[in-house]
């Protein structure tokens, strides 16, 4: 059985940026590094990982700065996985786990679709599929003053931007961009909203344009608003177009580019 040798007190940060300068390893025995069940760290990149997998062994990397993104945490000497997904590496030193879930983890500067749950004197309580409700201050609108507070009913769909996201406080939203302009934020009227996973939202927002959106755009005229929290709103001139666009998007998560094009064509044939 392995037994953990005494370690010198080393600095452990549980934060996104970690830099680890290591002193020579006289105190660590060879047992620490003999993890026969773990693959060598670099070969886990672009592979599916589950919670508990060790991604990097920091004892082997001295004086390097590594940036940890979502889904990874530092446990003294190793970087291990917190969420199941695909491990990604952005050269030279940024690691993160890409996963697709139904719940959303709020992150600053994300654009999301929220539903108003309650109206308080100072802010609206908005549900963005996060662990806690988000606050949207009543003045966070272009040209917003105490006199022209918008009247949102419960259930209103809003396209908003996350301004503060801290796991010890409720997230804060805004209907303005950084410069203070409205920039398409605000209430989304008409149309149809459906919920998907966060992975599909990211795929829809990727550039170059996602194949399914391109294929739909060649024949149909529609508009969509994609929230990084897994909510998508679609609108078009006729209900059948809206339904077709929604169904095409909902089907496209696990399909490749070519399969998406074929799927869209099959759906369009039904419309004719």
């Amino acid at each position: 059985k392995r037994h953990r040798p005494l370690r010198r007190s080393s600095i452990c940060f549980a934060s996104l940026l970690c830099s680890y300068a290591i002193n020579p390893q006289e105190t660590l025995t060879s047992e620490m590094n003999a993890e026969t069940s773990d693959a060598p760290p670099t070969s886990l990149v672009d592979r599916t990982v589950v919670p508990g997998d060790t991604v990097l062994d920091l004892t082997a990397m001295a004086n390097q700065t590594i940036k940890l993104g979502a889904g990874l945490r530092q446990d003294c000497d190793t970087i291990s996985v917190m969420k199941a997904g695909k491990l990604r590496l952005s050269k030279p030193n940024k690691y993160w786990v890409e996963s697709s879930h139904k719940r959303y983890v709020p992150c600053v500067e994300d654009t999301v679709l929220g539903i108003v749950v309650d109206c308080k004197p100072d802010n609206f309580l908005v549900d963005i599929k996060a662990p806690t409700l988000a606050f949207l201050p009543v003045l966070a609108f272009e040209g917003g003053t105490r006199r022209n507070i918008p009247k949102f009913e419960i259930g209103t769909l809003l396209y908003v931007r996350v301004v503060k996201a801290n796991n010890s406080m409720n997230p804060e939203l805004s209907c303005m961009d950084e410069t203070g302009k409205a920039a398409e934020f605000g209430q989304l009227k008409d149309g149809y909203m459906f919920e998907t996973s966060t992975g599909l939202s990211r795929m829809l927002l990727s550039s170059p344009t996602c194949p399914v959106l391109e294929a739909l755009g060649k024949k149909l005229s529609y508009e969509i608003a994609v929230g990084l929290n897994g909510r998508v709103w679609a609108n078009a001139s006729s209900p059948s177009t809206v339904i077709l666009v929604s169904n095409a998007i909902m089907n496209s998560e696990s399909l490749s580019g070519l399969q998406q094009k074929i799927m869209v064509e099959k759906l369009m044939q039904r419309l004719q």
């Binding site: 589950v50 662990p131 796991n167 010890s168």
Partner: protein, 206 residues
């Protein structure tokens, strides 16, 4: 009754003492839930659904620096040989709910989601021994499917001692034979034990 054939060394269902039953897992089986899993160990089938992290429904139970983990275990009426109506809050269900909650709480990184709630619902669809272990395995898969941050995967199995031999992964007949049975839950990569339960009924004279 002979639980271990003396000539061949096979158990009642043809396994060796150290053999587990066939396992099968599937995730994403409950569309409405944030994460779900169906786990089978031989004939024992268990379905787990996870909701969360989401707003705490009962504000008085809210914990300010970590997430609240709630777990509910139930057996379907049709899960055992006799179709029997089980009351919701009976002792065995409450005990197993508590055991599963404590086991999962050990591996969920609750400090990352303060003032939120994670609900784990486990239901036994078919019970053939080892339901506790199957529930823990299913709950782990459902939590991973929901994207709840965890430090490791919890794996669980049961074992017993019959006919002077330790037997792995008891089925219902072996479980109700009267020998001791132990359920162990282990964090797979970190090699730490999160659950250890032994159950044994003994008469005064034995």
């Amino acid at each position: 009754m002979e639980y271990l054939d003396s000539l061949t060394g096979f158990r009642l269902d043809g396994r060796r003492p150290n053999d587990m039953r066939q396992i099968r897992g599937e995730i994403g089986v409950v569309a409405k839930a944030d994460g779900s899993a169906l786990f089978e160990m031989g004939n024992t089938k268990v379905i787990a659904a996870v909701y969360g992290p989401r707003e705490v429904q009962n504000k008085s139970q809210q914990i300010n620096n970590q997430a609240l983990v709630r777990c509910e275990y139930s057996m379907a009426n049709f899960s055992t040989g006799d179709r029997a109506r089980r009351p919701k809050g009976d002792r065995r269900s409450t005990e197993i709910s508590l055991v599963i909650r404590q086991t999962m709480e050990a591996c969920i990184l609750t400090h990352l989601m303060p003032r939120s709630q994670i609900d784990i619902f486990v239901q036994v669809l078919q019970a053939d021994g080892g339901t506790r272990s199957a529930c823990i395995n299913a709950a782990t898969l459902a939590l991973a499917d929901a994207g709840v941050p965890m430090c490791d995967i919890v794996t669980s199995c049961s074992a017993g001692y019959l006919s002077s031999t330790p037997l792995l992964d008891l089925n219902y007949i072996e479980d109700s034979a009267g020998g001791p049975d132990v359920t162990v839950g282990i964090l797979a990569k970190m090699d730490k034990v999160t659950l250890l339960q032994v159950y044994f009924r003994s008469g005064l004279d034995s």
